[in-house]
Symmetry: C2
Subunit: 193 residues, 2 copies
């Protein structure tokens, strides 16, 4: 029997690589499905994290017409009631990690929660949402730039930022890993037999 194919809809090659590596880790290399990739520009709504991801997933399914995954990242500043949250990519693009650090200068609380929201859509178009969270602090960006806002996010319990960690270590504690692990457990129970 051939493996089920699941399409990960993303234009971010680094994200795709990271997620493929995660599934290899979860399954000790023998991943029971194929993960392919499609880069489609999907509409993103304003609103609550889960709702944004759900609507994006439904839009993806309209095009893919088969099992697919979409993913969203939020960076939630506790001092700002969870914002920029799902809008973080626009802020990052406009100001870079240094701007994110500056945004919090006027607030005492520098803590933040990194959230990965993943939606899996099955053959029938049913959407399931999984999220993973990692708490940390926004600090002045380190010289090491990897991708996104990694250079200004220091996860709780560490003296270094996401950017300064070896990739393998980041993938053990990251918000994305936690969300993908929940997805893996769901797939194990509901999809893969």
């Amino acid at each position: 029997m051939s493996k089920k194919n699941i399409v990960f809809v993303t234009g971010n090659v680094k994200k795709l690589e990271e997620v493929m590596q995660m599934f290899k880790n979860f399954y000790k290399d023998s991943v029971p499905f194929d993960l392919s990739n499609k880069n489609i520009d999907l509409p993103e709504h304003q609103g609550e994290r889960d709702e944004i991801c759900k609507m994006k997933a439904q839009a993806a399914f309209e095009i893919i017409k088969g099992p697919c995954i979409v993913e969203d990242t939020s960076l939630c500043f506790n001092a700002m009631g969870g914002l920029p949250g799902p809008y973080i990519k626009w802020f990052l693009k406009a100001t870079g990690p240094i701007g994110l650090y500056r945004m919090l200068k006027g607030f005492e609380d520098k803590t933040a929660m990194a959230v990965c929201t993943v939606a899996y859509v099955n053959e029938q178009g049913e959407v399931n949402i999984f999220s993973g969270e990692t708490n940390g602090t926004i600090i002045e960006p380190t010289a090491i730039e990897t991708f996104g806002w990694d250079s200004c996010f220091r996860p709780d319990g560490y003296e270094i930022t996401y950017a300064e960690m070896p990739k393998e270590e980041k993938n053990l504690i990251s918000h994305r890993m936690k969300a993908m692990y929940k997805l893996k457990e769901f797939l194990d129970q509901n999809v893969i037999v």
Copy 2:
């Protein structure tokens, strides 16, 4: 001949009142169309101001099936490359005007541009976009709270905030008035005969 009816889609009663007053001022009370109101929850996308407004307008037309107006407000911090911009309502809701002021503490440039984007959709579903801009500075909010972020926005050339101005004065210089005036000129030329 009866007047054409145009539906202003908004849930914000203060905005509706403000706009009705503006049209009365523009037309010296004899407004050549009826402006009615409908409160519909329209989807809002992420992206560029004009695009967000256009998509909202198209969604409104799908429901109204006739001439309608939608409106969006952005507050663009120059130090942040124009953000929060169209996401300002989420930030205002989460932090209040004081939070907007604090967000800029870490930046030298405290200037901001208030932008009103208006979309008019005609009987055929064609969308036209008009925008009005007012430059100013974000200051520590004044004790006087009116609505939105008026208490922390001081327009250029004034020593007081939007919130501290008499309504009539604000309506002479506001971003919303400028956008509505452009709409008025368009309606005069294209719609009202």
